[in-house]
């Protein structure tokens, strides 16, 4: 009896509880790492937990965050969107350029229209023609960049009369004492979070990403669902472009360059799977904040700017690893 019991407990220690720790880590690893980072940053720099600093981090994360909301839809539907950075540059340049000729209201309207049109093209190619989203959006990344340069003639864009317009309100204004970018991020997150979690459309997005064939067999219009996800993504990008333009009132052609990967990282960090079918808006917001705080923390502890890149990406790769590990149910592949 005692022998059997001994063996049982030995097995428990070696086998099942080990697996349990593994799955727990796989599920909570990001949060644990986040808490560790926060604590060590707070110890390393007293400014880190300062309310102004925290608000600052959230504000500067807002643009990335708004874009990540849209990409969350695309990723859950089982696709990628690598064109968001490039598209954000486009919206920023366009709205700044049109501002002086059309006035702020019309410029914003025209910019949203054009950005959505580009989103519709991508949605058509990926949704209806069933082209690989990685290829399509990678191609669009370059194509849109070309479009932006053509539009601007390679010049930076500036609003001429910065004092005489209300355009700055989106980037620099406050409402109820809260910076507008944060407010817009929060509002959009709330609305899109509800759309994804509570509406039939949201359910269809999960179904299409989880198993496209089964979704089709259930009478879901797969192409239309994917198309709509890209439209939502374009809408978010346009909003991000608006905040960016309004914050700086002038911009280079390359303002969004490289953001597509950071956006994707935030979405994956939040726990959405690149395979599609899982993720939530709430988790994406967490992912965005984690990324923002890590970058800010590294800055505050005085890490060199370029080293920050390396550390940030190490964290991102860690996140993707955890994502896959959670899928496998263990941290290391059994066939390693």
């Amino acid at each position: 009896m005692s022998e059997a019991a001994q063996e049982r407990s030995a097995r428990n220690a070696g086998g099942s509880s080990g697996a349990k720790v593994g799955t727990f880590l796989a599920k909570q690893g990001i949060l644990i790492a986040f808490v560790l980072f926060m604590v060590s940053f707070a110890l390393a720099s007293e400014r880190f937990l300062d309310p102004d600093n925290i608000l600052g981090v959230i504000r500067s994360s807002a643009i990335l965050g708004v874009m990540a909301l849209g990409v969350t839809f695309v990723v859950i539907s089982g696709n990628l969107d690598l064109s968001v950075g490039s598209l954000m540059s486009f919206s920023t340049i366009v709205v700044l350029d049109l501002h002086d000729t059309l006035g702020p209201a019309l410029a914003i309207l025209a910019m949203f229209g054009m950005t959505l049109a580009i989103g519709a093209v991508i949605g058509f190619l990926v949704g209806y023609l069933r082209l690989n989203s990685l290829i399509v959006t990678l191609g669009m990344l370059s194509a849109i960049h070309g479009l932006t340069l053509t539009w601007s003639g390679g010049q930076n864009m500036d609003i001429a009369d910065k004092a005489g317009t209300w355009f700055a309100v989106f980037g620099q204004g406050r409402a109820l004492g809260i910076p507008m970018p944060i407010l817009m991020f929060a509002l959009l997150a709330a609305v899109l979070g509800i759309v994804l979690a509570k509406t039939p459309f949201g359910r269809k997005v999960y179904a299409v990403g989880g198993n496209g064939t089964a979704a089709t067999f259930s009478g879901i219009r797969r192409a239309r669902t994917v198309f709509t996800c890209y439209l939502i993504s374009a809408f978010c990008v346009a909003t991000a472009g608006l905040i960016q333009a309004s914050r700086s009132m002038g911009s280079q052609n390359t303002v969004g360059q490289g953001m597509e990967l950071e956006v994707l990282a935030a979405v994956i960090l939040g726990g959405a799977s690149l395979m599609g079918g899982s993720g939530t808006i709430f988790k994406t917001v967490i992912g965005v904040l984690i990324l923002g705080f890590i970058q800010n923390g590294l800055l505050l502890i005085g890490l060199q700017f370029y080293v920050q890149f390396v550390v940030t990406w190490i964290i991102i790769i860690l996140a993707v690893w955890l994502d896959i590990a959670a899928k496998r149910g263990r941290l290391l592949s059994p066939i390693a």
């Binding site: 099942s16 509570k198 179904a207 198993n211 079918g277």
Partner: protein, 504 residues
């Protein structure tokens, strides 16, 4: 007495909210075929996954020969001579048959290069034993489900096995493939390998097994010697009651023609098919895998455009361009492949069940939780679906319970025409008879039902009329009073005994 090839002792395995195994012991002797039976969700697959190193038990131990063994992962189990042929296929579709069979142990030449010649030669040798119609180089993705199953079985023959676990291997095999499988099992048996055989099909169990162990709700209920027992005894042990397995002799009141198909063709898949199904009628489609029955169903569900012919619903010609059209016309299809076509495995039970109608279950712009749960509860009770709750991920349900979710999903649409393709694949005897009862009941409520099945007892049991198909052609339509097993077998082999009533 011979020593068991392996033994499981007092195995306990829990999942969140589920005690899947509650102190189960089980053994298999060398050269014995030991059946493991039980209702859907009884814990059969889980017990075997513990043995195969996929799950770690919370309590209990495994003995291989005399030695206690820990199976930390599937490779360790395989190294100890335990081969597991899964209920759900687990092949790499993008790889060839040979690569799949030897995955992880490809023969090598110098510098770690794969020795393709040896690989293909060895594989073809095994395939020859299995008498299959494809070779080592075929891409697995291009094979039918049945053939993929044969690839899984081929895997078992590559190692020096002590025990081979077959988890519902025949669920998607044709009769001739089954014969081959049973020969393979016989060979393994002669070599002194212990075979664990999981199936819900009594005929097979009684044909090939030596002993039968029964699980119920995660508990061990007993072991019977096959020769000394009866189907009824096993059923009693499994579900605590007997079943009526007779042929259908009651007919519901037949109403208007719900579906009429005229001269329907689709390339080579099926040709010049004409039949009708009336309200209140169950029409069974019997034939071998590949006879074109599934393809007809897909056409009727808007998934496959016909090349000629007409489809009439309630006397009106319709063009079904997509499942959306078909669903709008009151057609439901329970598809053949539950994992690929029927379910979103990562989604919970409720969301899967309500998926086709989620757009209608709304309160304002939002999905109504209450309406969804009501539907789920109704069909969980009706179909006796075993799950800790609607939040459970469908992928975590047992195979049979997954199938019930798919059936519930399409019944809850209240279709005029219900098409079910292999509806009871992987479903236990008790639930099977429940589902058959349900199909009869639906007919009596005025539904038109089309049942595609490769199981003759099933077709005989539920149908008012039976359509026999062979190689894309409708050979003959039988009424349930005139049909005999022999005439049906002849018809699906392409022999026209009575050409008189080709058109139904």
């Amino acid at each position: 007495m011979t020593r068991p090839a392996l033994r499981l002792e007092n195995i306990v395995k829990t999942f969140p909210g589920v005690r899947a195994l509650d102190g189960v012991s089980f053994e298999v002797l060398p050269g014995e075929v030991h059946a493991l039976m039980g209702e859907n969700g009884a814990g059969k697959s889980t017990l075997m996954k513990v043995l195969g190193g996929i799950h770690q038990p919370n309590e209990g131990r495994i003995l291989v020969g005399e030695e206690p063994a820990v199976m930390a992962n599937p490779l360790e189990a395989k190294a100890k001579g335990i081969v597991f042929i899964h209920q759900e296929l687990s092949l790499a579709e993008e790889l060839s048959v040979a690569e799949n069979i030897y995955l992880g142990e490809l023969p090598r030449k110098s510098f770690g290069r794969v020795d393709w010649a040896t690989l293909y030669a060895r594989t073809d040798e095994i395939l020859k034993k299995l008498k299959v119609g494809f070779d080592a180089r075929t891409m697995v993705g291009t094979l039918s489900i049945a053939n993929q199953q044969m690839v899984e079985i081929a895997r078992a023959l590559t190692v020096d096995a002590k025990a081979v676990i077959f988890d519902e291997p025949t669920a998607s095999l044709t009769d001739s493939e089954k014969v081959v499988l049973f020969e393979v099992i016989d060979d393994l048996k002669k070599d002194g390998v212990g075979i664990i055989y999981i199936s819900h099909r009594m005929e097979e169990i009684f044909k090939i097994t030596d002993r039968i162990s029964v699980l119920r709700d995660g508990e061990y209920r007993g072991t019977l010697v096959t020769k000394e027992t009866t189907e009824d005894d096993v059923t009693q042990l499994m579900i605590g009651r007997s079943l009526d397995l007779s042929r259908n002799h009651e007919h519901a009141e037949v109403g208007d023609v719900a579906l009429e198909v005229r001269g329907l063709s689709c390339g080579d898949l099926y040709r010049d098919i004409s039949f009708e199904i009336r309200r209140g009628e169950v029409v069974g489609f019997y034939g071998l895998v590949g006879a074109g029955r599934t393809e007809i169903a897909e056409t009727l569900f808007g998934l496959r455009a016909p090349s000629a012919g007409q489809i009439l619903l309630d006397g009106e010609e319709v063009h079904l361009g997509s499942p959306v059209d078909a669903i709008a016309r009151g057609i439901s299809l329970v598809p053949e492949d539950r994992k690929g076509q029927g379910l979103v495995l990562g989604m919970n039970c409720r969301d899967n069940m309500t998926l086709p109608q989620v757009g209608d279950l709304t309160a304002g712009p939002f999905v109504s939780d209450g309406a969804e749960i009501a539907i789920f509860d109704q069909y969980r009770d009706k179909l006796d679906i075993r799950t800790p709750g609607w939040r459970q991920t469908v992928g975590n349900l047992s195979g049979g319970n997954q199938q019930k979710i798919v059936i519930g999903k399409w019944l809850s649409m209240h279709p005029t025409l219900l098409i079910v393709d292999e509806p009871t694949r992987g479903i236990d005897v008790g639930s099977k008879s429940e589902i058959h009862k349900l199909i009869r009941q639906l007919a009596s409520q005025g539904y038109a039902v089309m049942v595609i099945s490769s199981e003759m007892p099933e077709v005989l049991h539920v149908s008012d009329r039976i359509v026999a198909m062979y190689h894309g052609e409708l050979i003959r339509t039988f009424t349930s009073d005139e049909v005999t097993e022999d005439s049906l077998i002849q018809a699906i082999s392409g022999i026209r005994t009575d050409g008189g009533d080709k058109a139904a």
